[in-house]
Symmetry: C2
Subunit: 219 residues, 2 copies
DNA sequence: CAATCCAATATTTGATCAAATTATTTTTCA
DNA sequence: TGAAAAATAATTTGATCAAATATTGGATTG
């Protein structure tokens, strides 16, 4: 019989490597165009090739990395065309995910989200770009997590992996001062159990972010 | 300097393995719940572990395979909940993809699609389920291919990888006799350069398929 | 029924080979 | 002779394999 405490204390190396790389991409530590070499990671992380290869394969399948013809991989460069697709997909998936999440959330869950929003605003006020990136991600995905979705959530994660580096560039250019979001509207709708309203707030939040990136013309 | 003929004659082993497995899942040769072991593939395909691991990682990231807690992998079992998500995502992505594809298609491209539709109908008439699965996939994805989409198309492929096994089960239960589609409507809209109409036809086609699977209650 | 052992399987490593990039040298032509 | 192009060598990187290690699930046994 399985124990209730089902926490696997030991994580496979490929999983560890995957998470480390993923974080770097998601929060913009790796810039678009930057090469990611297997051997480089082998040396940097003191592990063997196979788990590194697996981590890279996973990230590549998720769109976070891209195979260049010559069997090299790099962080993809997003042009206007792909940005448009990314925006369409995010607007199609994430509001629905938020709506489905709202359906399942308890007052405690909402408080968790409020705490994250507080941290987020602190990061904005202090100009901490990495903190902003992280808390913003955390806000969206602790929300989405409550949808208990095995299909839509991975899709959203894949889209954020591609959006992250772009967003990081824009934040780096303009700082965090004039960043705004519709998280308060989302939280307010959550408290009112207005599920559709949560979806609408998230849609607005995404649209706002997309507009900022589009205006910055970083391609 | 590089030659104009840049055709890589040799494909990496992990790519070959990936494609073979992918086909089997896509066209229902592997049924939901079926286990996929690394060693099994090593013996079956007479290759080494590393490329097999990579192929499995890629398919897992695409949702075509699923990690069971105990580091085993199997073809995922789709329940009602996930089916609903799958349907929502397909309806959100694929009509848009079709619309964008229509924008770029020449009369020759449309003829290619008509030829595929002829083959598809032959497969239906002869009760060839595998042929039906393959030609139906081919119809949708040669269409989608013209959208030249690096974001939406991979999403659609990922969704089909999960939809395939389900669709195969239903076809196996009821045969190909009463299968219908809206491909003629799509082709007709294509000939009229009615891009939105192409999207609508594909939406209808997908909805029809979803309804059939839902009615069959295969969970 | 629980603890322990065993077989099957997954994970990781280090080594080897092949391909691609970069650096260097040689050749060619004005 | 000098500069650009071509060829070649050296280095880096990727792909594959086979062996060693670790984990899991089930059988065995007390």
């Amino acid at each position: 019989m399985k124990d209730i405490l089902d926490t696997p204390v030991k994580m496979p190396a490929h999983e560890t490597i995957y998470r480390a790389l993923r974080e770097k991409i998601l929060f913009g530590e790796l810039v678009p165009g930057q090469a990611v070499t297997i051997q480089g990671l082998v040396n940097e992380l003191a592990v063997s090739m196979t788990p590194v290869r697996e981590a890279i394969r996973t990230l590549t399948a998720e769109g976070a990395l891209e195979l260049q013809g010559n069997r090299r991989v790099c962080v993809p460069i997003i042009g206007e065309r792909r940005f448009s697709e990314l925006g369409f997909a995010r607007l199609s998936i994430e509001p629905e995910l938020a709506k489905r999440a709202a359906l399942n959330m308890t007052p405690d869950d909402i408080e968790d989200l409020m705490r994250i929003d507080v941290e987020l605003n602190k990061a904005i006020d202090s100009g901490d770009i990495h903190g902003y990136m992280k808390q913003n991600w955390l806000f969206h995905f602790t929300l989405y997590g409550h949808a208990d979705s095995k299909v839509l959530q991975p899709l959203a994660e894949s889209l954020w992996l591609r959006y992250g580096p772009l967003s990081r560039i824009v934040s780096g250019q303009y700082g965090t001062r004039n960043l705004v979001d519709l998280h308060d509207e989302a939280l307010s709708a959550l408290r009112d159990s207005d599920n559709a309203g949560v979806g609408d707030a998230i849609r607005g939040d995404i649209q706002q972010g997309l507009d900022i990136v589009r205006e910055s013309q970083c391609w």
